[in-house]
Symmetry: D2
Subunit: 372 residues, 4 copies
């Protein structure tokens, strides 16, 4: 019930401060007898890890995952899987000067407002480092879900950076095309411009935001719920729980509000009801693969807005804990000028976690044979 | 755990099909000894009720609320409050012709995909009529929350309809200004154009969507959680669980992705840390009153995208349950050409429910005196 | 999360005060396309209803169940099922004299200690009338579970009253033999003595308690969980949540503590691993059908202690709300001198609710094919 | 929602197999700014640890607790506290011979029936080693709860072993008197006989069970809930979730069923309503400190039945995985002939976890000022 768990049947609880002993996750509700490759988990963590290139944070963490429980010879026991990553490269000293200052648009002040205390260094739980547990859990989830629903794909990409928008087709985008450049934008031309914009921001002691696009292909119809746990509602919560997010769209999104019903409605067509092809049962897909809160077998399409990173090198006005004005001459620590490339695996991870949970719920609900 | 409940400590469960015996809600976790005015509950229901004017659905339901439990002489007992509204004006006959046809962009097909069965008439749980329970619960919540946090305000308004966008200042908008016209748009000029656009859509057998804006003023700092239950994540889920929603923004939203960090960051200023004024502790408010998932005392600002209503009078291509192509010559039943005006109280309701829940969670968490 | 819900996947929420407008239940998580006979629900309610004979409470409630949602032509829609029973025979006047007095061993004082308010008449939520919702929900659950696990039986009986203990064989007891007398004790001889003891208590203005026995036969192996949600732990909670309960035993119970391991252990035998026969895979059954928190296919055997009813006709010492001593000359209202006969269906109901929930959880958990 | 978590607001999730990498717990919902002494946690773990004397298991585990998160300089941050203990002395080889045999009255068969797989050595999650996480969490809970409710005491003791029953007064028993001997029975005379009985069982390759008594003194009135989450129901679940338990009693327990109402009722007296003295507001305490599911300020008294340990040295009949009969000539591994002494801290731990959770829930519920 407190706020560090996510999911109902495939339920994860993350723990760990960015500069504490370790960060990690406990996954409860893992189906038994599932082969889990920890190398895949490590690859997912490597993909979200800082220090991968010049565009992202320079913090160098090996981020080696260790499995404390739940696996035996690479096979799940049906018991909780605990995965941890030790914090090795924390430099609390970097944060000494910030102990009594509220960094603008950071969680410093609000953390104190809620808890009356905050981690002396780093962002504590508000750090993007918290997402290690989410990504590790999703790397487990995806291996299982891929067996339950062969062929299902979750692919996210950088869709825009600052003013630059890519041209990406959700029906054909591949992970390979996403990972072909450091920006994780499958539109190579746009990626180049984006990389320049990010570098320019870094050089200027500034930061940029952007939009992540995400598609789920091959999802069966029937996932989601008609009322509170609509699939889009759970996706919205999952994705808006990632740090620095400011907006979420599914299907036609805000653009759809400027259409008429006769333009927006998706006509059903005779084919595509098998739910696996990706094309789905409709001629168009402004619904984004979800109707009435439930997947319809078409591709689920989403967009997620990330604000520009709050940690910048430029001088800023702010106040101390005593509410005295002060000029902060550049936020210390090693930070990304653009969080988008690293956010790609985080977005995919949260989507996997939503999908497996709804899938398991469905199985339980649909188990009873129709009966008189 | 199933999908018809919302909230942790102030927990509601809604029930009822649109054309069944009744719709309603059970609220568990209601603090005791709270005076609740059922007339206020009725007023909230009247506000979301169809048949209020020419712009909205012509279905005429008295929608009289009945309280089955939890209140004694207008005072809460701390026991579950059950509120129901009988369905009186259902005309299942209207839907006979639809029994074997999937209405485009409706929940007909997906409901069958998930449940293998659906209500023979009306939208079942996918109907906007389900929101009666939410609004009734929120009318209770707001009366209690207003006592816990005097002066807190939740105000939603129609911010755009189709291509028309209003000019509304979240810091000064009032419920009175919202309710001054049928469109529930406080910008009188825009409201007039919007009304014309809605009428034109009706005349044309078409429908229009739009955007609802919403602001919370007077909220204390400290509500929300740093990880999964970020305040914006719970608001996103709450609002994206309303029918016909396609997008959610908080603070700067998607527009914020086109700014640089140095432009987007909200500088802290010396005043405004008392959390009650609405202005908040920052010179600007691109954060939308939430930082690191936790309220900072500034106004919480949101926008919610609604697609154009799927039920239209125009002819549409679709398929039967047997996947045979068919032309649907106008969706029968009485429907809104624009759901926005009636959605205003639904949006406010979901926000109240999120706020009271986080507030009660905070009280429990913060109860222990700091101790050594 | 508040205390009026039970179950995870088949989740019920009860509501209603004993002397308010209605009592009832909302069931969320009901599998769709299940034929539900409301006459069966009514029969279950009739079985727990007061006014059935001279041994139990003389309150005469028709207790007619009304279904507000979730059923269409007797078939579940997969949406919440709301069942209510109007309160018709409440005589609040009976309780006027008790408004300012704490009845001994009742919930009057503790209700005020927790809520600061209590229902002016009747027991509010502490009344046995609250169990109407549980029984109605279980009548639905049993119809579904019987289809999921054909042949499963849950049978409770009065095993002792005051000093009198019956001789009942859990492997052969039938509902018919339980219901053959008013005491609901399948040992006819003992039943006769029990009836006399109950009548004597009534004549004396006193009350008696006793023990309910309960057996589940035909349950498959594999239900339950190794840690917190052990099957016996969930049964203990379910049954100890019934009013007036003071103790719970499974299998050998307290008597088993006086045996040695070599006497207590249940030897596995070659047959009985199919989980449906009732005999189970062990030569003896001191485990009570549960080992390590998980059912083993043998009969699950339980015993539940009920204290003598607190409402008695004799004079008692107590205090007023002002903590002034007072003599209470007989508790007004119509009350059972012995709650045991009516508790039989309540016990069975709670067991059904535990079983269906664990069964549905298992289905979800076990759905994933073993995979490499 | 899966079965490895306990509690609503103070919510723990345990993980770890007995012979895996580590066992541990994540506590979510820890109030912030609470000084936590890890030495106290270690002392609690030492108290439940095997290898403390000749009466208990000879497995020698240092069981050193390590804190991975949630604490900073000994102060809680309000973030999840993760505590782990590495498994150091596991000797999987001891269990080789058991891989294909179902030990009688163990969880071997049922674990396979549910999960289709089980840990190759040790009891996996069914091992008493799982309780390390519970005890560690409770050691944290008790430090906080002691600050919220100064003077509250939870004391458990060995009340009977096999046929031997101690004479212990719940109102005066102290932890010191409990710990004065290895049996943890405060009745020194009985303890001596019990120690002999345990030794005799060991010498004979057999085992003995018994009963743990437990009292909570100084608990305020008002904890618990009138319906499903009755305090006794949650205590029953908590305690019946400990390995090897077969029965639970509160207050008068099964003995109370043999009394009349006029004998059993607890007369309220003028004093004792302050809820802190332990004597409570009633002249007698057959209610066991709980009425209508809610604490009344008197001492909460419980008894918990433990079966004799299933692992014995004597030969036993059982079957292999292939259901072939086999004689098991003594269960390998190091095991307690009597689990009772080590169960004392486990019982206390589960009680602390129930109490703090209900206390925090109450605070949230009671926060709203009575209002008109």
């Amino acid at each position: 019930m407190p706020g560090n768990s996510f999911g109902k049947l495939f339920r994860i609880t993350t723990f760990g401060e960015s500069h504490g002993g370790a960060v990690g996750v406990v996954i409860d509700g893992v189906p038994p007898r599932q082969a889990i490759d920890l190398d895949v988990v490590q690859q997912w963590l490597d993909r979200r890890r800082p220090g991968q290139g010049k565009l992202v944070s320079r913090r160098d963490e090996a981020d080696r995952v260790e499995c404390l429980s739940g696996l035996q010879d690479g096979m799940t026991l049906g018991t909780p899987v605990c995965l941890i990553v030790r914090n090795q490269d924390a430099r609390p000293g970097d944060y000494e000067s910030l102990r009594d200052v509220y960094r603008p648009s950071h969680a410093d002040y609000t953390t104190e407002a809620k808890f009356g205390i905050r981690a002396a260094s780093g962002g504590g739980r508000a750090s993007a480092r918290e997402t290690i547990g989410r990504v590790a859990a999703a790397a487990v989830a995806s291996q299982i879900f891929g067996r339950l629903v062969p062929g299902v794909e979750v692919i996210a990409w950088v869709d825009s950076v600052h003013q630059l928008r890519a041209n990406v087709d959700p029906m054909t985008v591949t992970t390979k095309s996403v990972d072909q450049n450091e920006v994780r934008c499958p539109d190579a031309m746009a990626a180049k411009s984006m990389a320049q914009a990010i570098e320019a921001a870094r050089a200027d002691g500034d930061s940029v935001g952007g939009v992540i696009g995400c598609v789920v292909r091959g999802l069966p119809a029937g996932l989601g719920d008609p009322v509170f746990d609509k699939l889009e509602a759970d996706l919205a919560k999952a994705l808006m729980s990632l740090p620095a997010t400011k907006g979420f769209e599914v299907g036609s999104g805000f653009g759809g509000t400027r259409m008429k019903g006769s333009e927006h409605n998706d006509a059903f067509v005779s084919g595509g009801f098998d739910g696996r092809g990706g094309a789905g049962p409709t001629a168009s897909n402004r619904s984004g693969g979800i109707q009435g809160g439930i997947s319809n077998g078409a591709a689920v399409t989403m967009r997620l807005a990330f604000k520009p990173v709050a940690s910048i090198g430029k001088s800023q006005h702010t106040v101390t804990k005593d509410k005295k004005p002060v000029v902060l001459s550049g936020v210390p620590g090693r930070h990304d000028p653009c969080v988008l490339p690293r956010a790609v695996p985080m977005v995919e991870s949260m989507v996997w976690l939503v999908l497996i949970d709804h899938y398991l719920l469905n199985i339980a609900l649909q188990s009873a044979p129709a009966g008189v």
